[in-house]
Symmetry: C2
Subunit: 756 residues, 2 copies
């Protein structure tokens, strides 16, 4: 097989082990796979439905844990420090801090596996591997594992995962298809599985799980390049009603299997050819999965699929061309750009059918349907980034959200859209921010009245997370609904976004209603302590307040010092209320410089030393706008200091290179904006504030043949301060650019300086 690999490498022009050059070559999917990043290193295409990636463990870890994984570390199925692979599954979230998926784990085995014990889960097969035998590229993953070594290669089309397994010569080849395996597994998560061996090289089936996505079914169709010589399964159900199936030897070579917990083996005669497996997914049915397979999978050889995946990635990556100060920066930049295209994911079949939130099958008419909206994270920078880099997709994402709302029995836009489920994760109704931002930046690509209708419905569901009380009292009372200060701040911001939509929809009364509601953040500001604090239903602030504590203080995954600065819709008002420019700047200094006691850190998995600068938490989202708040103080240059410091310290071109969960691309989108020198501090407005570019130059390819260029003068590691900014040669008076200016193309020139 070596010759095939070299041929492939040549074909693709991979500069393996030489200097990274093209954007494609700069992407390193292993960055962020160590510890906190929660990204996966496997194969996918931009926004692809299939994320085919290795699932790993420390050997001793799963011996101890009886195959129930330690959940948090394995949100993406893979940890860089691990030494064993126990399969390749087809669905993975990128960067999340809670998880699910891991559908349809395949593990190639040679020799004579003890199927009886493996299928019953008494023995867990795996392969040892080291990173020297591993290659991860955008859309391609390869590993040699075990002894004698089996080589596994992975690639993908939007809806099909493609495996190529090269077995030791002369050895028989087997596959374990493990439908028991789950990411974030627990007893009873598997609801039902169903598998048919349609013929000697085709399987179909599905699995329903009740996890983070409570009612989630994934269908598959699988094509093998060699005929199956023998197969069988075991069913681990606690209540294995056998019915009249007892009349068969169902366990071996019987083509129909069903039950809660299934494991299958497929055996093949020894062959000189590698075994290619194509696994298509669908949310609709096995018939639809088969159609996806026929359209996307069957016509492609493995090698062609790798080339197509590379081309797809290259096309998206090369929309942004950067010159950087170092090779490291170039790798960080393009890997961040790669990370922004791992979700949301396409959630429809080749014919446009998809399963909706109501569990019915819908047709996406006039748009492509997407899922995986981790909105509490991604409205901040990722969707704003899409309005520049992926405007058409972001329109489709908005339309997917509207479809979600239409299918919602609550009439609500998504909070966290999860494979035809709403998992309700985190707080706020930030879809309205995405709608407002897209509408303001892209114009009325959808009927503003429609956007307003669903935004208004969403914001008025009284049983949702304290909203009823919020509407009644003007704030969320802590004694009625926890994390009330966070909720009040975010609802107020979200309401401002709705007012923006209402303005575009020319609905004066709703515009004024929501504009007024957006001022309600002041209701939880305590002028005595100077902090945003949780209030009780009786109107008093909750006593025993500690602005550094992240628990029980009215904030979710944050504290008052940090999260309490969340008023993006009225930053100037907040600064004034908190004592004016100087006092506010001192508050920021304190935030970035304090040494946080251990007791404030150990309690929260989202707030770790890795992501901290003083008490500022870059590893989590609520503070992502904070470094830019200096711009509104008497020392605006400190934004440049903080931003450059974060870009340098919190994003590294190594497996441990992310300081917290990438959170479906939000952390990476922050990097992209900040490295380019501007940031959408208030999503839903058409303005970006100016930070401190890290790149030497950049060219962003826009729609309709236009491009936007960023140039720097005197850019260097030390020249972090922006001395002047010119747009198309004309000097900007304020450190602000408008989206319209950007999108019309042109040149933004930063003159850099070593002093503020």
């Amino acid at each position: 097989m070596k010759s095939v690999l070299i041929a492939l490498a040549t074909l693709l022009g991979w500069s393996i082990a030489t200097e990274a050059q093209t954007p494609y070559d700069c992407v390193n999917p292993l960055i962020g796979t160590q510890r906190m990043g929660h990204v996966y290193p496997g194969a996918t295409v931009p926004f692809g439905s299939v994320q085919l990636s290795p699932d790993t463990r420390y050997l001793n870890m799963y011996q101890q844990q009886k195959y129930v994984p330690e959940a948090y570390a394995y949100c993406a199925g893979y940890q860089y420090d691990d030494t064993t692979i126990y399969g390749f599954s087809h669905t993975h979230f990128s960067g999340t801090g809670h998880s699910d998926l891991g559908d349809f784990l395949l593990l190639p085995l040679s020799g004579k596996p003890n199927w009886d014990s493996i299928l019953k889960g008494q023995e867990r097969p795996y392969h040892r591997f080291t990173h020297s035998d591993e290659t991860a590229k955008a859309g391609y993953y390869r590993v040699k594992m075990g002894s004698p070594a089996i080589q596994a290669e992975l690639t993908a089309t939007p809806r099909v995962g493609i495996h190529r397994y090269t077995f030791p010569e002369g050895e028989s080849a087997h596959l374990l298809l493990d439908l028991v395996y789950n990411i974030y597994n627990y007893e009873g998560k598997n609801i039902w599985s169903f598998v048919r061996v349609e013929n000697d090289s085709t399987l179909t089936g599905y699995r329903q799980t009740a996890g983070w996505g409570r009612t989630r079914t994934e269908y598959f169709a699988m094509r093998l390049s060699a005929p199956i010589s023998e197969y069988g399964f075991e069913r681990m159900d606690q209540s294995p009603y056998q019915g009249f199936y007892r009349k068969f030897n169902e366990r071996r070579n019987f083509p129909e299997m069903a039950g809660k917990d299934l494991r299958l083996f497929l055996s093949f005669e020894p062959a000189n050819q590698p075994l290619v497996v194509k696994m298509a997914l669908s949310s609709v049915s096995t018939a639809s999965a088969l159609r996806n397979l026929e359209v996307e999978g069957d016509p492609k050889s493995f090698d062609n699929a790798v080339i197509d995946a590379r081309n797809a990635w290259t096309q998206e990556l090369e929309k942004v061309k950067v010159e950087t100060l170092s090779k490291s920066d170039r790798i960080s930049f393009y890997t961040a750009l790669y990370h922004t295209m791992l979700s949301p994911t396409i959630y429809e079949d080749v014919d446009g059918n998809y399963k909706g939130l109501d569990q019915n099958v819908h047709q996406s008419t006039g748009f492509t349907n997407y899922t995986v909206f981790s909105l509490w994270d991604t409205y901040r920078s990722l969707h704003p980034w899409f309005n520049i880099h992926q405007p058409a997709r972001n329109q489709d994402m908005v339309k997917s959200m509207l479809a979600h709302a239409e299918q919602s029995v609550h009439g609500m836009l998504p909070i966290w859209s999860h494979y035809a489920n709403e998992n309700w994760c985190m707080i706020g109704y930030h879809a309205v921010s995405v709608l407002a931002d897209a509408l303001v930046k892209q114009g009325p690509f959808a009927d503003p009245k429609e956007l307003l209708k669903w935004s208004h419905k969403t914001a008025q569901v009284p049983y949702f997370d304290g909203v009823g009380a919020y509407r009644q009292l003007g704030y969320v009372p802590e004694d009625k609904s926890g994390n009330s200060a966070s909720k009040t701040l975010e609802y107020a911001y979200d309401d401002w976004c709705i007012s923006v939509i209402a303005e575009r929809a020319q609905n004066d009364s709703l515009q004024s209603y929501y504009r007024k509601a957006s001022e309600q953040w002041t209701r939880v500001y305590d002028p005595i302590s100077g902090y945003v604090r949780p209030k009780l239903a009786n109107g008093n602030f909750k006593p025993d307040f500690d602005p550094l504590d992240t628990h029980g203080q009215g904030f979710i995954e944050g504290n008052a010092l940090n999260y309490g600065l969340y008023v993006p819709q009225d930053i100037k008002g907040m600064v004034t209320k908190m004592g004016g420019e100087k006092a506010f700047r001192k508050r920021l200094d304190y935030l970035f410089e304090i040494e946080l006691a251990d007791k404030y850190i150990e309690k929260n998995e989202d707030i770790t030393r890795d992501g901290l600068m003083g008490a500022y938490v870059h590893g989590n989202e609520p503070g992502h706008h904070i470094p830019y708040l200096y711009l509104f103080t008497d020392q605006p240059f400190k934004t440049a200091q903080r931003v450059r410091q974060i870009l340098r310290e919190k994003y590294l071109d190594k497996p441990d290179g992310l300081c917290g969960n990438d959170d479906a691309g939000q952390m990476s989108a922050w990097y992209l904006f900040s490295a380019l020198g501007f940031y959408p501090i208030t999503p839903g407005s058409d303005e970006y504030v100016i930070g401190s570019p890290l790149v030497k130059s950049a060219e962003i390819q826009l729609d309709r043949g236009k491009s936007f260029r960023i140039q720097t003068v005197n850019q260097s590691e030390k020249n972090i301060y922006v001395k002047s900014i010119r747009l198309n040669g004309r000097k900007l008076e304020n450190p602000v650019i408008k989206h319209e200016q950007l999108i019309n193309g042109g040149v933004l020139t930063f003159e850099m300086s070593p002093t503020p």
Copy 2:
């Protein structure tokens, strides 16, 4: 409400408590509900998808059994001896001896139910009732129950169950919707349930179960005539992963519920109107159920639905007009006719979509799709009866079987088609008999080559129930596959049916192959003992043979004496082999006259004293042709004796009127043929043998305006012997008529006599 009832009764022209007159009035759905019949008394339309019927218990029974019902007695959910109703569910098998279904149990309650304890299953609500407060008609059921009494009325359209509940005046009204309830329940049978409260008077949802039908999902859409004032649920899951749903008070007035085991309550303000509930079913989706509701349910008032159901029944019942010797006979006849139209059931939505065996959604193009094919029972008389009474439907049933085969991963026609499942119940592949019988009697309504293709595939699946060995050895060896003698006999008959199809398809080689295979019944005939006996793989008969025992003797639900006479494809050959006409007649005499020892009876729930005449078992199917075998002996007149005796003793116009499970209409179809004086002793041939008519006259309405009349001369209780038979005035030489003679219309005249 009384006035409404009287008005309705007047409208319908019900002759309550007066002499039964019209065929509709002669139908008594309570016949067969006591003990063994396993029919249900509730409301349905001919071949309707919805069977809305009360589910009952002895009060003490369910106190003792913690609400897990004693399964066998409750195959149809109802037992006449019971004193309490605990709800009305929407799906019921008719007459089966194993069961499932019971979907979506509704129970009306007034007053202040203790929901907390009811929903958690700690308290089981029910209503006492007596039969004096109960009325059951075709398509309509009414009961007054509890104190203060709630009146429940039920009716149905093909896909919608309609309830009308009249609550005590001024009392608040509630419904319990119990998704935990199942017929044939056991721990873990519920796989998943999903319910949405779409608005204040509409619910949708579904339930998946793993029972006799292993992967079965039923969807519903439910419309209420009054707005829900409050609702709530409990989830009984063992592994209740709550996820981020914890942020809601999901249990009350939260419109989205999911879990394995759900119970809901719906409350209504007191009202002067009865509460009407319309529950539409679908196999496809809640959207499809809603469409079914909109098309069939919404436009109809309860009263109109009752009238439409009555008209539908009247139309089908009046296709056969009989004069009988007594009112009892008339009731038995029309109730039997009613029982033949309770299954197979329509299994498609108003738009022709249905869930197929492959779990995908299919469209029935050019036919109506049916399910519930209990073929080991129904190929004998029910489907032959359909070729006279329901020829168009029987064609569609055949086409449904072909669709089933196309969707089968085994490429097999149904064995027991069960709501998009194959439950594999009983033995043989008797769909081929239905195909052959329909083809021979109705001509090539479908391509005979297509029928042959699927029949041949079905008969050649080597892993199916001993077929591999049967093809190899010419018989099923008992040591490889149990009940081998039964299987060998039935496969041989089925193979004869395939040869008939092959003949019509002009495939000589398959015709001759299967004709030859049909002779293989001789391989299990032991000339020494004179009995069909199970043979071992080594070619020897299995030792320790007891021709009276029904267990371990190579027969399923029968013994050698009885089941060993199953060679319908070559009755004359069998008679010859078993010693000729006289010896064979003596064998039949012995069979009918022996007093069977208790030890042979107690072991088998399908063979009870009720159904026995000597060792002949009328309560079960394998011997249904046996009374007609006398026709092939030296004393053919004994057929008349036996048939009349069975008609008199085994079919009674009272709740305990069926001597065994009605078996999806097979027992009743036997009655119809026998009462009319002829019987399809060899389904797949175009001939009927003549028995002894019980009716005085009959007229069967045929297609294309034709009719077939049966007349008798000197018919009486004592004149049981047929002296002569004339067809259109011409005397028949042999006691045989051909289907073609019947279907062309005409008059068959029996001259009856008190002596043979």
